[in-house]
Amino acid sequence: MSQTSLLLEGRGLSKAFPIEGGVFRHQVGSVQALRDVSFRISKGETLAVVGGSGCGKSTLARIISGLLPPDAGTLQWDGQSMAGWRRLDRARRIQMIFQDPFASLNPKLSIGTQLREVVRLAGATAAEERGRCEQLLKSVGLSGDALSHYPFQFSGGQRQRIAIARALAMKPALLIADEPLSALDVTIQAHILELLKELKKTYALTVLFISHDLAVVDSFADRVIVLQNGGVVEEGPVDTLLSCPRHAHTRALLDAVPRIPD
């Protein structure tokens, strides 16, 4: 990937979660989920964040999408600080896909309700709403009939498609995908990955792809950062990083990829 313009830069991001305990539920310690993490994403690039469970991947995703405030550090969007941004400012530029499509769709609201409210926020008029929702569903390979249905009527793969459509409804520049495949069956994983690749091209998306599956990362990402215990241990273009990893943790992750012998 050649050097293009910078879209998002994070500097020195840290986040700790308190552990409460004792009789009076006071703070007895803390978990450092992220320590001094810095990263850069260029426009149009796919940056993969990899690491074992509990390494801070999801915390990073939540800080970027504004769901969690960082303890320290700054985020810069296109050279401007994101400090004063309101929720809607962020949502217009950054959208997120969650890991478990069974948990990320509200079970009590129809797909139509859940899509329409975003489409409306994105500025569609009442007349455009329905068409826009149908178009979104079509772009993820579902028919407009889905609008009147509820999440429980869909399979895991279909739900993840709906979640992707919901994220795209805001026409974001940056899509954060927090392990979007790991709750799905292997065959479905391949379909969703293909869909993500296709959508990335159609909508010129920049993607922050969180994963622990290096095989997927290899086929999708341009650059990789490796997290361990909340800190960045290695960073680089996907080809060099995966073919000659320098850090022991990256090698351990690579060794953990199951290989089917020929």
């Binding site: 539920r25 939540r62 999408s65 504004g66 769901l67 929720r87 809607l88 962020r90 949502a91 217009r92 959208q95 997120m96 969650f98 890991q99 478990d100 948990a103 990320s104 769709l105 509200n106 079970p107 009590k108 609201l109 129809s110 409210e117 975003v118 926020l121 509820y150 429980f152 009527q153 979640a163 919901r166 409804a169 805001m170």
Partner: protein, 323 residues
């Protein structure tokens, strides 16, 4: 939705039959009986006379036959006459019904109106000072015996301050005053019983509301709703409320029988002319017909409450109505 409700209402039939069976045979098992009750008043009643009363009342017939005729009468709301004054039971109950329903609807309404905001604010600001203060207050209300709170309120507002009447549900001059004064009079009499019933039953629902919402707001779909850029009100008011309200529907549905039987102690303390006090008096005087009628009515209301809860469930949860 409609087919679901029809199917669900078919389930009511065996339940109601079961209730009538159990309450009837429990009464048969209870020691003593209406004849003893009447005969014991008079030492001159001979065994022959007793037998004649039994056959007059139909009590010498086989028990299953008695059950069938009881159920037949009950189906037309004919619960027989009261033993204490010989008036039809249904009349005695319907006289007391409005006062009780009014009191309990007000107190349950007050409880829900307080419990939901308290529970939800506590959840949104979990572990804040507000949350902790409310936890303490709500449990003080819960642990406080209703009669103690009732007596304290009576002393404070009734005796010391003289603001509110302390017993009955209307004043002595009730008949003479114009309509608006009548309404005002009843309202004044209702304030204290409503407060006592509402405040002491706040704990369950408000804690339930708090936990229910706390559980929901940590779900991914709430994160997703926030990440979508939805307003605070839409995230909590629509996405969270839909899911958090459902478990509470059952709890509220089960309060329906309380509309009739909720305030036995309170009605007795405030000398309030409601069903609760009627039931208390019926038990004290062994007025079987009246007891049976009240038992069956409150059991039927429990079943109805469950049915309504299911109906609301189906309304709130698409998974149920599609099955």
């Amino acid at each position: 939705m409609i087919p679901f409700l029809l199917r669900r209402s078919l389930h009511l039939i065996p339940t109601l039959i079961g209730i009538s069976l159990i309450s009837f045979f429990l009464m048969q098992l209870a020691p003593g009986g209406p004849v003893d009750q009447i005969a014991d008043m008079n030492p001159h009643v001979t065994p022959e006379a007793k037998a004649r009363i039994r056959s007059d009342l139909g009590l010498d017939r086989p028990i299953p036959a008695q059950y069938v005729s009881w159920v037949k009468r009950m189906a037309f709301l004919d619960f027989g006459t009261s033993f204490t004054d010989g008036r039809p039971v249904i009349r005695k109950i319907s006289e007391r019904l409005p006062a009780t329903i009014l009191l309990n609807i007000l107190s349950i309404g007050l409880m829900i109106l307080l419990a939901l905001p308290i529970g939800w604010l506590s959840a949104i600001r979990a572990n804040s000072l507000f949350d902790k203060a409310m936890t303490v207050l709500v449990f003080v209300g819960f642990s406080m015996p209703t009669y103690a709170l009732a007596l304290w309120l009576m002393i404070l507002f009734g005796l010391n301050l003289g603001w509110l009447p302390i017993s009955g549900w209307s004043s002595l001059n009730f008949i003479e005053v114009p309509l608006w004064r009548k309404a005002l009079d009843i309202a004044q009499h209702l304030i204290m019983p409503t407060l006592v019933l509402g405040l002491t039953s706040l704990a369950g629902l408000s804690r339930y509301a708090r936990n229910s919402l706390l559980e929901v707001i940590h779900q991914d779909y709430i994160r997703a709703a926030r990440a979508k850029g939805l307003s605070f009100r839409r995230v909590y008011g629509v996405h969270a409320a839909r899911n958090a309200l459902i478990p509470m529907v059952t709890l509220v549905g089960l309060m329906l029988p309380d509309i009739i039987g909720g305030g036995v102690i309170i009605e007795t303390i405030f000398a309030y002319p409601g069903i609760g006090r009627l039931g208390y008096e019926a038990i004290m005087t062994r007025d079987y017909n009246l007891i049976m009628a009240l038992t069956v009515i409150s059991a039927a209301l429990t079943v109805l409450g469950n049915f309504l809860a299911d109906a609301l469930y189906a309304y709130a949860d698409p998974r149920i109505r599609y099955k």
